[in-house]
Amino acid sequence: MHNKQRLIFGYIALIPAIIVFCVFIVYPVINTFYLSFCNYRTQTIRQGPQWIGFANYAQMFSDDKMWTALKFTVLFTLISVVLESVLGMLCALIMNRQGKTRALVCAMILIPWCIPTVVSGLMWNYIFAESYGVLNYLLQLTGLTSGAVRWLTDSNYAFLSILISDVWKTVPYMSLLMLSALKTVDASFLEAAQIDGANKVQSFFKISMPCMKPIIIVAVMFRTIQSFRIYDLIRVLTNGGPQGKTTSLTIYTITQYTTYGNMGYGAALAVLTFIISMIIAVCFQDGVKSKLEV
């Protein structure tokens, strides 16, 4: 009885989400897939989309700019996600400690997250500026560097600058999630482990980690996908330069889509992003599986 009732409620509970999905997403997504097989440009929009099969994809795979963007995006995603997860967890551990500092840390750490990306991009631009930026000023004042560092125009530093501003913005988000994950760990298990003689590190990895796994996996998965689509920050900081070396896949997609008005090719790039993100999601299949086994 209960089981049947439960199932019915389960299906009913899905309805609102499915409605939202169908109304807002199905058509746009199908449309994007369709356009990726078409020649569709603003300049010739009056003729409508014209079916050209896989030509956009063929062009894409022989496009050096796409490969540069892909390489940058993958590298950036890997480094930023690892860094942000580790720092996020460290932060969460600090926030989780009972103590006077906790409230302060909690309050401070959430500030970067509240600032819209557009604004934080502008802010970092101002900090990284080569001649009037405060960062170069402090570095030279303390004698750490002799000349001005080209934070935004030297390709290596540009990567670092984007990384720093992204980490600054995202660690709070990660730490809040990690904190809520830590809170799901049953305190009595930890006490029991301590009585058995496990030290803090051991009990963290042996007891807390497995408990938190579902939340951490989802957090890291979403972070990976988001990081893979990084856009706003780069647009404001380097605009993809120097020489396209900090052009992310999304920057390139949007440049094609909006700036060049080449919507067919832009859609093909979007589908590429979509597929790679799907692959990332499947790589986190552990997380998906554990969700499905109830």
């Binding site: 001649s131 009037y132 605009n239 020489q243 909006t258 700036t259 008005g261």
Partner: protein, 417 residues
């Protein structure tokens, strides 16, 4: 939960009531424009509404990022929506929008005599290849050379007439000032890889006699263009440009100049306005402005103007045209420019009492001589080729010869579509 939902419901009802437009017999048209500077747009619209009491104009401001403006407009047009009746348009967009069929033809809005009242050099953008008019110039932007009067006087120089002269002067002044313990840069501008650099690179190439294209063939692979780019490289190589110039947009370049750290700056009139404003500049009382230096073929400046066009899907075509004509008319331009500080596109307006003794009147000669960037429906891609290659030359990664060859090959492929 229930309380939440009821609050939600109430909220939505209130909102939907609030959004009901009260009806009257006025026609309302919507005008999408750049974020208003000192109420310039409002002044022009108020003047229009006073003259046309049966039309109400609702002002909608774009956000300030040019890319975002284009995103907003293309969303509207692709939906064939009439929510923007009249709008401002960057001078590099018309070709793309015309070929997309998004602009309403303005045939018959102006007579030949009326058209002659505008500055002639900027009118080519308004027409398609068949001579149909689609856009009206609203205001101008022209490149200017801003300089430090005090420094030039100290070393007995007149403002540089040629780029060569500018380089020589900068070197002497920089050396002299460094000896006195006040190191500074010679020249600053916006050479970040974006549209700003395209403007600068075109000016350098035009100055030495380069032409963009003839008969559908890109002709940038020429000794003249190479000479122009070579000057950019020389300025970097010889330490004349500011160290950070490759990362600057206009605002950054102005910051350097206003802090007193540069002798010369290539920017727009608004930069000069900031540089003489004591609240924004620490060198406000020793700044001068003049035409850009010349190369061997003369002094060229990019047309950075904004145009007015009417949405092809508008349901108030007549009202929209009336408004477009007014706001680009004598009265509209004076109302707008006297507040915003932008340069009008009608020579006659420069003698208006509203501009007496202002910077606008001072810049009249420069305003007459702007040159438009190449017009093409694929302009953005062409621009990307120009700025990427110009940046490589400035860095010393590519020789000017290589750069012009590369950009010409790629641009030709774009033109051949």
């Amino acid at each position: 939960m229930k309380r939440f939902l009821s609050i939600l419901l109430c909220l939505m009802m209130v909102l939907s009531f609030a959004s009901v437009v009260h009806a009257d017999d006025k026609t309302t048209i919507t005008f999408y424009c750049n974020p208003s500077k000192n109420g310039g747009v409002e002044a022009a619209v108020a003047a229009f509404e006073a003259a046309n009491p049966n039309i109400h104009v609702e002002i909608v401001e774009f956000s300030s990022d040019t890319n975002q403006k284009k995103t907003t407009l293309s969303s509207i047009f692709q939906a064939q929506d009439d929510s923007a009746d009249v709008f401002m348009m960057d001078c590099t967009w018309p070709d793309e929008f015309i070929s997309a069929g998004w602009l309403l033809p303005l045939d018959g809005l102006y007579t030949e005599e009326e058209l002659a009242e505008f500055i002639p050099g900027i009118m080519d953008i308004c027409f398609d290849s068949n001579g149909t008019m689609y856009a009206i110039p609203e205001y101008l932007n022209a490149g200017v050379l801003v300089y430090r009067k005090d420094l030039l006087e100290k070393y007995n120089y007149e403002p540089a007439k040629t780029w060569e002269e500018l380089i020589e002067q900068c070197k002497v002044i920089q050396e002299g000032e460094a000896k006195e313990g006040k190191p500074l840069s010679g020249f600053t501008s916006a050479w970040l890889e974006y549209e700003g650099l395209t403007c600068c690179a075109f000016e350098f190439m035009w100055d030495y006699g380069a032409k963009f294209a003839a008969d559908g063939k890109c002709t940038l692979d020429s000794a003249e263009a190479q000479q122009g780019l070579a000057i950019m490289r020389r300025m970097v190589e010889e330490g004349v440009t500011d160290a950070g110039i490759r990362g600057y947009k206009w605002a950054d370049s102005q910051a350097i100049f206003n802090a007193g750290s540069a002798i010369y700056m290539r920017d727009w009139p608004s930069a000069y306005k900031n540089a003489i404003n004591p609240e924004k500049s620490s060198v406000s009382d020793s700044v001068g402005v003049t035409v850009l230096p010349s190369g061997t073929a003369g002094s060229f400046t990019t047309n950075g103007g904004w145009y007015i066009a009417v949405n092809a899907f508008t349901s108030h075509a007549e009202e929209a045209k009336t408004f477009a004509k007014f706001i680009c008319g004598y009265e509209g331009q004076v109302a707008y420019s006297s507040k915003s500080g932008d340069l009008p596109t009608r020579p006659a307006t420069y003698n208006d009492p509203a501009f007496e003794g202002t910077m606008t009147a001072q810049l009249y000669d420069i305003a007459l001589t702007t040159t438009s960037r190449p017009s093409s429906a694929y302009y953005s891609e062409i621009s990307a080729e120009i700025y990427t290659n110009a940046a490589l030359v400035a860095d010393g990664t590519k020789t000017p010869e290589q750069a012009t060859a590369d950009m010409t090959a790629n641009i030709q492929a774009i033109l051949d579509r």
